[in-house]
């Protein structure tokens, strides 16, 4: 389909939407239960009052404030309602064009909303994820046309390089550099993979982006495939996210119908097929080489690197693997230019980042902030602080591969570098707030149990090391530890970190190391007696 046709589609749909005096946007994400009942009740209330031509109910993606969901947004006045139930439908419809329903009203000046900077999430909660027309009407796929009809692949890569975009999956590798490596690689076919195996417990950024704006991810993937010369793409997504999978399937089908995926994309001679591959519940498959093994139909066991997937990936061919959020940033960079993106964030960490803010926090939900915002602003301004009069104890970032950051470092600006200096990692964006009622040993043992279960078993440091660290942590938890156990714990963490094959093992000791650094007293308090020899319980 040519640009003019797409523009006409978008224009027609925009006119259709503008034909309604009021839009009622209902969050239809996983985080807002009963949303289907709410939509049905609203539609009934509209039909009863004969307002079908004036009021449009639209199912949209996540609006972020999941803690106060289900959220309903009335446009054009931008009135947000919280904790809406189907029983509120009549009252909401009656109030249209009059005074808003006070008891449901979310304060418009809530820092949760006005302190954020939404780029990737800008359309999330504003468009229907199951409608390509909605995405087109919002300007979607115009970056794809710009890239394919006005730019050479090398220009696209240069733009991404100049923007300073780094991988949003956790490691922060420069995206443009990765693209240029794949583009330079020779050997016939090339593959493209979207890593949507968000296995980190406590993180749901990718789920939300896929559920809310699946077309943005597809658009980013198509641009990337054009830039590196890939003809086949895979989206590897967790089976635990059925709604995201459903919407992705729909999005691929609609994009194929509009000739945005398939043959002769945008009227050029560029071809791309995109398929979905379901994960099956293995955390290690978030590691890129394990993910490749899994797409090839085998157990998700990492391969040694090098060779890196950029040179030798899927079926031995050069493969570009990026995370969901990374791809979702691409259309914005093409559209608004690399300078715009590079103007956001810090010197080395550019742009904005999506975080899943959860745990002991008032306004739990999905947020997007510029890199460089302090943890304090995230927790206390956007997050609204700790509920129930409890005190902040730590914030856990990066899940089982990250660490716990204590109160004294709350003023640290969030960037790849600053978090790793604190002994944690940016990770994919999970942030779990912990208050004084939780024991750090308990949290750390939880993560170690996770890493131990999820270790694929290929390399010994990870397979045996995580189990032994878990055994030692159990002794601390049960107040049976000795000083020798503490020494052994530190030694083992160092060993596992430095000798494991893949990222899972290399980062599994991080929760222990960071708590030994900031919460050492909790370990010392659990040493039963200053015994001279370690207990013989191996």
């Amino acid at each position: 389909m040519q640009r003019e046709e797409i523009k006409r589609f978008a224009e027609e749909h925009r006119r259709y939407l503008e034909g309604f005096a009021h839009h009622i946007l209902v969050c239809a994400g996983l985080g807002c239960p009963r949303n289907e009942e709410i939509v049905a009740a609203l539609r009934r209330a509209i039909a009863e009052r004969g307002l079908k031509d004036r009021v449009l109910v639209r199912k949209v993606g996540c609006m972020g404030l999941c803690a106060l969901g289900p959220i309903v947004l009335i446009q054009p006045k931008d009135i947000s309602y919280q904790t809406v139930s189907p029983e509120d439908a009549s009252e909401i419809i009656e109030s249209l064009g009059k005074e808003p329903v006070q008891r449901l009203l979310l304060p418009p000046d809530l820092p949760f909303f006005n302190r954020q900077h939404k780029n990737v999430l800008a359309l999330s909660g504003r468009i229907d994820p199951e409608s390509i027309d909605d995405y087109l009407a919002a300007g979607g796929y115009s970056a794809l046309f710009t890239a394919i009809t006005e730019m050479r692949p090398a220009d696209v890569i240069r733009r991404i390089q100049e923007s300073g975009l780094r991988g949003r999956g956790g490691a922060g590798y420069p995206t443009g550099l990765k693209w240029s490596t794949v583009a330079k690689a020779t050997g016939g076919k090339k593959y493209l993979v979207c890593n949507a195996d968000e296995g980190d417990p406590g993180a749901f950024m990718d789920r939300s982006v896929l559920e809310s704006t699946p077309h943005a991810v597809l658009e980013g993937m198509i641009i990337a495939a054009y830039a590196v010369g890939a003809g086949n793409g895979y989206i590897y997504v967790r089976a635990e996210y059925p709604l995201a999978v459903h919407r992705l399937k729909l999005a691929i089908r609609e994009a194929e119908r509009k000739n945005l995926i398939g043959h002769a994309i945008c009227g050029s001679n560029f071809e791309l097929n995109i398929q979905i591959r379901l994960g099956a519940g293995a955390f290690v498959c978030g590691e890129e080489t394990a993910l490749i093994e899994s797409i090839e139909g085998r157990r998700g066991i990492p391969r040694p690197r090098p060779p890196y997937p950029a040179e030798k990936g899927l079926w031995g061919y050069p493969t570009l693997i990026n995370n969901v959020e990374t791809y979702a940033n691409v259309p914005l960079i093409i559209e608004r230019g690399p300078e715009w993106f590079a103007g956001l964030g810090t010197e080395k960490s550019k742009g904005t980042k999506v975080f899943a803010l959860t745990g002991k926090i008032k306004h739990a939900g999905l947020i997007e902030v510029p890199m460089g915002m302090s943890l304090r602003e995230i927790v206390f301004d956007i997050g609204g602080g700790i509920p129930g009069g409890h005190a902040f104890k730590a914030i856990q970032t990066g899940g089982p591969s990250g660490g716990c950051i204590p109160a004294e470092h709350l003023d640290t600006p969030v960037s790849y570098e600053s978090l790793s200096e604190l002994g944690s990692i940016m990770g994919s964006g999970g942030m779990i707030v912990i208050d004084e009622t939780s024991s750090m040993i308990d949290i750390v043992k939880y993560f170690m149990e996770f890493s131990m279960d999820e270790s694929c078993g290929k390399c010994i440091p990870c397979r045996v090391g995580t189990a032994q660290i878990h055994r030692l942590l159990t002794k601390f938890q049960e107040h049976r530890a000795t000083e020798a156990d503490l020494a052994q714990l530190e030694m083992l963490c160092d060993l596992v970190k430095n000798t494991s094959l893949c990222g899972l093992g290399q980062s599994a000791p991080n929760p222990v190391l960071s708590t030994l650094r900031y919460f050492r007293q909790e370990y010392l308090d659990r040493i039963a007696a200053p015994a001279t020899a370690p207990e013989d319980d191996q």
Partner: protein, 167 residues
């Protein structure tokens, strides 16, 4: 579990067709294994020996490799589920907010641990590592319906009432 290498003819059950379709879509290539296992588990609820043997022969993949893949991934199960399934999320946010207590309560109350089914086949308990609804933590899913933000007392009451078990 014994997985035989011979080529069994599947029983006359329409559900086999979805499995065949999944394999057909990938030209019976060995890399269709995980996709096929998903289709099979969706059709039958679990993966039994006959199913694995059939898939193994059709995809020309050794039974040992098929079994290896099935047991590597948490999502696949070799045992049939009970009449009801309770999924308890044990992601970090749900853990911090007390779902470990719910699991302990189920163990004491129903003598049931994750991955198992009660002896009367009434309830299966499944532990998942994060369904991604962390802002609603702690989350439980009785028969697939997501229920979040419940205290320990509320959660256990919901489970008891759902099972029609007021004691």
């Amino acid at each position: 579990m014994v997985v035989r290498a011979n080529d069994p003819t599947p029983p006359d059950d329409r559900r086999w067709r979805t499995i065949d379709l999944a394999m057909q879509r990938h030209d019976y290539r060995p890399d269709a294994l995980i996709e096929t296992l998903h289709a099979a588990q969706e059709a039958f609820g679990y993966l039994d020996s006959a199913t694995l043997t059939y898939i193994s022969s059709k995809l020309k993949t050794p039974p040992s490799k098929v079994f290896g893949v099935v047991t590597f991934y948490n999502h696949f199960t070799l045992k049939p589920k009970g009449d009801h399934t309770l999924v308890v999320c044990t992601g970090t946010a749900c853990h911090v907010k007390g779902n470990d207590r719910v699991l302990t309560w189920i163990r004491d109350h129903y003598q049931l641990v994750p991955g198992e089914t009660t002896s009367d086949n009434r309830l299966s308990l499944v532990e998942v590592r994060c369904v991604g609804a962390c802002a609603l933590a702690p989350v439980i899913l009785p028969d697939g319906t997501l229920i979040g933000k419940q205290s320990f007392e509320e959660a256990t009451t919901i489970i008891r009432e759902w099972l029609g078990d007021a004691t």
